[in-house]
Symmetry: C2
Subunit: 450 residues, 2 copies
């Protein structure tokens, strides 16, 4: 059993429901949509991510003999027989990864036999939720620090290994320059960054010796961590080393600051480096950073060229979850609506249309409409990405998605690019969709009164 | 390459440092310790967890030919040759999983050749940090809802698959009754819970029909979700169904509420059920719950028998990370100290002694001391758990750890069992440890002045 691709990555109730669906032969086509209910207060928009991993999961879903053997004593034989043959052979529609979106806008739709669409709920949500959470968080650092080198440093405090890997991917998609997590480089081809830890300096005891050893070992990528004992004293040692090594053709690419008042240290260190002839040596900062600290440092004019953003990025510290849902919108050709208090859904198969202020202009508003017989102006965001369980290969690489995402920030209305709360992007529900919701409520009232 | 057990689950700088260590033959014994720097404001204590997963990782760490082939063009051949033979053959000391602990107290110590101890940093931190985070969060719900059934419902919004699995394990360790995540049952033997989703009701349209179908399919575990349309109307249908099925020997074990004012609904539903003769049918609640909501509901006297705690548990919503570190405390027989501003460490190999108010009494205070020649009264918490890369099997099951953890809550001082901020548990640094830190600072000043 592979803990991250097993079909047992599901909630127990999916299996008890499946038993009941099979018993009643409820295997007609169901339509489920994934959407976010509302924005965290600290977010002005969302960035869709995780589709590729969700499609991988669907395409490869199989129950192994070992998994079936584990399930057998716990569930009836009819379920086990069904799961032996289980393949996901449904359709998937989605908006592309890296697309900006808003609450009530579906970013993924599953159209499949009810038991299939039900079983996959937990893991599909788990993937889309997390990568969207992180891409959305990362976009804020990208907007707060335009033109700066941004590196994901979050593995050690990410929530497990998969979170570290998916956070590296999602932040790169959203515009980060790369990650420190080696496996993310191997899995996704993301550029890797990293130099040395405090332990490296401590193991040498003499910081100057540690710097020189490192520089001679990595002459093409000399980035030195200078805060282990005293940041400015560290910078002075870098200058001495720079003189010594410069003669031998080794240049010091950068220094890293990781503690104290990063802005004040950066200014002093920049001065020390410049005075020592190291004008081209860059300053990289890390240590409890997030987009708010980046904005603060840059608006105070701190001479910092790049940032390692770690924990706050990988756990989305100020909003560690999104209020998202995966809901049945249609079954057996009939639209469905959940009416629970505060959690009512928009029924039916939907499309999202986005309007712009002219060609190349800013986003001007979205309409959530029914997919059929409810056409609107604007760019339709949802498209089919899987047919009968097979991915429709669109051949878009992660780097291409990243460039497209970065370009899309230019089309955000100015007021939404701020880190501050800025409500007001218009998302309209189409008249036809509202009418359908009302009609279903009226029908349900009849069911209840019967 | 297995994304959750690969040795490439490390930060890039670990590999660049390794190259340099090898070049300088810096392979003497290093001692690193993992500890938390400070408590989040919302926590009064921490619960250690994740050791078993960390030891698994260490014991099985191997570079596969595929991994080496990926690394080869990126790193020098001497590193690749070293990694081909790589095994972790160090010692590990730790405090047992489920133990309550505090900042500055190491919960794990690695004693190994410097390159080994360095390479494993990122993943060992990643595992210990997350499980400790979740066990600590879960303990609060257990304390807030004594005697209630508590179930982890968090998979869908956990940060990836591994987070969902480790959160199920850590919350069970901390006293939860089980999880909804099937794979957590298969991997760790955790009891599984779950009934039906709203989609099940919606697919049927007629809620009463859905209830009856489910009950007949699962006569031994009839728990019905009653809030899809109208909670009290749902409860009335449960009563009708209870009459009908009671005759046939099927009893309705419970109902689940998932929206609206859970306390008010629970009172009304309890009344409806009791009036209908279903006094033994339990009420289970879910929906945006955390320990604060549990306390509120129970202190208002809401007649709720169990809770599904989801997102808030699995992401530790009010404190989604811990300020933890893994630091070099000794190298080549000499204690080391990091002096960075606000991040100075206590050097050397340490032990933690815990005092109690008499046998069976409450915890009375801890002393962080040096392991050697610094004995104190109290229970020593650190013990060796791995020798030369092989686990010392202590044969303690997860269920036994869970029982021990539950018992340890009884020894918490009363003021610390509250959900509110309650500083003041005494953790003392021994005189010998303070003296060592001062001595190292003096020595370092000499290195700097040279």
């Amino acid at each position: 059993m592979n803990p991250i691709s097993s079909p047992l990555l599901t909630d127990h109730y999916q299996l008890t429901m499946l038993q009941s669906y099979l018993e009643q032969n409820m295997q007609e086509t169901a339509v489920f949509e994934f959407f976010v209910r509302k924005l965290p207060r600290e977010r002005n928009f969302l960035v869709a991510a995780g589709l590729e991993q969700a499609l991988d999961f669907l395409e490869n879903l199989r129950f192994s003999p070992e998994e079936l053997a584990w399930l057998a004593p716990r569930f009836g034989s009819s379920l086990i027989e069904y799961l032996e043959q289980f393949r996901f052979d449904g359709d998937v529609h989605a908006i592309p990864e890296g697309t900006i979106f808003f609450p009530d806008e579906p970013i993924l739709r599953i159209t499949a036999a009810l038991p299939q669409a039900q079983l996959i709920e937990s893991r599909v949500m788990n993937l889309l939720h997390f990568e969207t959470l992180i891409a959305t968080k990362a976009a804020r650092s990208v907007l707060a620090a335009p033109g700066k080198l941004l590196v994901d440093f979050g593995m050690r405090r990410a929530h497990g290994a998969e979170a570290a890997l998916l956070a590296a991917r999602a932040s790169y998609l959203a515009g980060f320059s790369g990650s420190a997590t080696v496996m993310a480089g191997a899995l996704y081809g993301i550029p890797l960054f990293g130099t040395m830890a405090h332990s490296y300096i401590q193991a040498h005891r003499d910081e100057a010796v540690a710097f020189e050893h490192f520089a001679r070992c990595h002459p093409d990528n000399v980035v030195l961590l200078i805060d282990t004992f005293d940041t400015e004293a560290g910078a002075a040692k870098v200058v001495s080393l720079g003189r010594k090594l410069g003669v031998q053709g080794i240049s010091i690419k950068g220094v890293r600051l990781d503690s104290g008042d990063l802005g004040a240290h950066a200014r002093k260190v920049r001065h020390i480096l410049n005075k020592g002839g190291l004008e081209n040596t860059t300053i990289f900062a890390s240590g409890n950073l997030d987009e708010y600290r980046l904005r603060e440092l840059l608006s105070s004019g701190a001479p910092i060229d790049g940032f390692g953003v770690g924990t706050a990025l990988d756990v989305s510290s100020d909003a560690p979850s999104l209020d998202c849902a995966y809901k049945l919108q249609e079954y057996a050709g009939k639209a469905r609506r959940k009416r629970s208090e505060g959690k009512a859904t928009w029924p039916g198969k939907k499309q999202v249309y986005r309007k712009y202020n002219g060609p190349g202009g800013c986003m001007a508003g979205d309409i959530v409409a029914l997919e059929e017989n409810d056409l609107h102006d604007g760019e339709p965001l949802m498209a089919r990405v899987m047919r009968a369980g097979k991915r429709i290969n669109q051949g878009v690489t992660l780097d291409e998605m990243r460039m497209r995402t970065l370009a899309s920030y230019d089309r955000l209305p100015r007021f939404m690019t701020s880190l501050d709360h800025a409500p007001g992007y218009p998302v309209e529900i189409s008249a036809a969709l509202s009418a359908l919701a009302n009609q279903l409520d009226a029908e349900q009232a009849q069911v209840v009164s019967v």
